[in-house]
Assembly symmetry: C2
Homo-oligomer: 328 residues x 2
């Protein structure tokens, strides 16, 4: 295993130290328990948005804390749910009188721990569960569809609405709306390597790829031979668009998300390929995001996410944001 | 070779198509010859900044075109200098009466072609050569030190000054000043794979790393066994700081640059490690940038860049920027 680390047990703590130091103007990393908040306090009367999940998906979620997105994030150990203690401490730190909205990716550990934290938290709270991955119905770590890179879109749009003073019920409904209009699917060219394991999570022969892979390296739909980018995009967009069922002429956002080991040149090439597939189905891409947003450590691969826009969602996407990973 | 591509010959053109579509609000990709400009025309009386070089280093340079940085970039084929035709066409497209400043990384092909373009260009022009890599004195593709990730710092600071109306001579002097106060060094954990070659550029056994690697996979100082992050940072910052010779108490910018295949978690961990080394030498890190900015295709590895700041350079770094890859 070749990684920039000192001791395996210290990876998360040391990475968070570096993150804290690099972005002291935007975030604050808290310890015992571990959570990340904005450097500035949550404005009184603003609903506090909190997300979290296993580490290894950076910049999700700590890199999405800041003006226009999250108020706090709870990073668990690598590919392991954060504890309810972390979530409760985060909620208590950022709650400012208007309640807390938890945005949770659909994995059993995360769902269970966020439920426990919500029960322990005495203030008003609600939850939005994301489950945008169309690859498989059930998976290694979850019942029902997995929440993946579409969560970035949910956090961006709900975050923008929270800044304008929307209340807890409205934000929960908005989060459910965005999730309901969002679909994703991923493909792995290589495995990832969890530091504590020291070896690749799964074996993938030099000629094969994992179509529909999960963001922890969980199995996808099928293992196939490497295909040209256009064929990959055709299969992935076919699955996404077939499930999304947006009417011809609909306007969509396209997120091409790298899994950590794939360079920008290939992601942009995939963006072009995916866009052509969407256009062939009569959909118009009016907003794009290309880069590493919901990663799987050092996995080579990418996911495609499509969100059906309307005037409300387009406006929320375009609203200003200032986080470590997303700024405009 | 596992990559998101269709045909090897089309990689660059298709990646640029995707880049163009994803960032139509910021850039415009031109063809025959190929170059990238801002979507908006260069303001009359503003010096036009142009850079370029082989592709495979994305987002450098096309992702650094936009308000506050470059006016145009010329992408060559992968790891191959752009032609003087590309540079000349870019210069003619963005020249607006105040002259053109070429920012060129020190590689023989780039230097030669930019010189030819400068001779053919009839307007006023000047050049800044970057050579921030302290790893080796001469290398596979150049005489003298290589220009690497420090070029991002030069382009950011000179770009900010150009927006305020600084003239050609002042910008050239500023670029030379920034380059003179900037040092970098890289390390490779793996090779990269050039699409047209179809196999890794060099062989690196599972236990070894290339200390001082170049951004095309050129040899560095020495091949050593994998070390902990702290030991890597100690050697790299030792070489950088020993060469930079900033006085104790000096204020510095620290850029931790990923080579394309290294995830954010490891880069942030390296940021913490490098920062500790700088602080032990009495230097204070007041500005940071962590991410993939000057890459080597899919290479796992990173480089560290340190720039000695003063009030002028800190202000130019903080000035607003709006490009595909850098925004604040």
């Amino acid at each position: 295993m070749k990684k920039f680390i000192n001791r395996v047990d210290d990876v998360l703590a040391e990475a968070l130290d570096g993150f804290d130091a690099a972005h002291a103007d935007i975030v604050r990393v808290h310890r015992d328990p571990t959570f990340v908040t904005r450097a500035a306090s949550t404005r009184t009367g603003k609903v506090a948005l909190i997300s979290g999940g296993g580490s290894g998906h950076e910049p999700m979620h700590a890199g999405l804390v800041g003006m226009g997105m999250l108020d706090a994030a709870c990073p668990g150990q690598v590919f392991t749910s954060p504890t309810s203690d972390q979530m409760l401490a985060a909620a208590q730190a950022v709650e400012s009188g208007a309640g807390v909205l938890f945005i949770v990716k659909n994995y059993e550990g995360d769902v269970m721990n966020f439920e426990m934290a919500a029960e322990m938290h005495e203030g008003r709270h609600a939850t939005v569960l994301t489950n945008d991955d169309v690859a498989v119905e059930d998976s290694l770590y979850t019942t029902g569809r997995r929440g993946v890179a579409g969560t970035v879109v949910v956090e961006k749009m709900v975050g923008a609405a929270a800044e304008t003073g929307a209340d807890l019920d409205a934000l929960q409904a908005l989060g459910q709306k965005v999730n309901g209009r969002t679909r994703s699917m991923g493909v792995a060219l290589t495995s990832c390597t969890v530091p504590a394991a020291g070896k690749p999570t799964f074996e993938l022969p030099e000629s094969d790829i994992e179509m529909g892979v999960g963001i922890h390296g969980e199995p996808g739909r099928r293992r196939v031979k490497l295909m040209p980018a256009d064929a990959l995009a055709e299969e992935m967009i076919g699955a996404i668009a077939g499930d999304l069922r947006a009417p011809a002429g609909a306007e969509v956002l396209l997120l091409v998300n790298g899994f950590g080991g794939t360079p920008a040149m290939e992601l942009y090439l995939m963006h072009g390929a995916a866009r052509r597939q969407l256009e062939a189905k009569g959909l118009t891409v009016t907003r794009s995001l290309v880069g590493n947003y919901c990663t799987s450590l050092d996995m080579a691969g990418c996911s495609l996410t499509v969100t059906a826009l309307d005037d409300e969602l387009r406006g929320l996407w375009d609203a200003p944001v200032h986080t470590a990973a997303l700024r405009w």
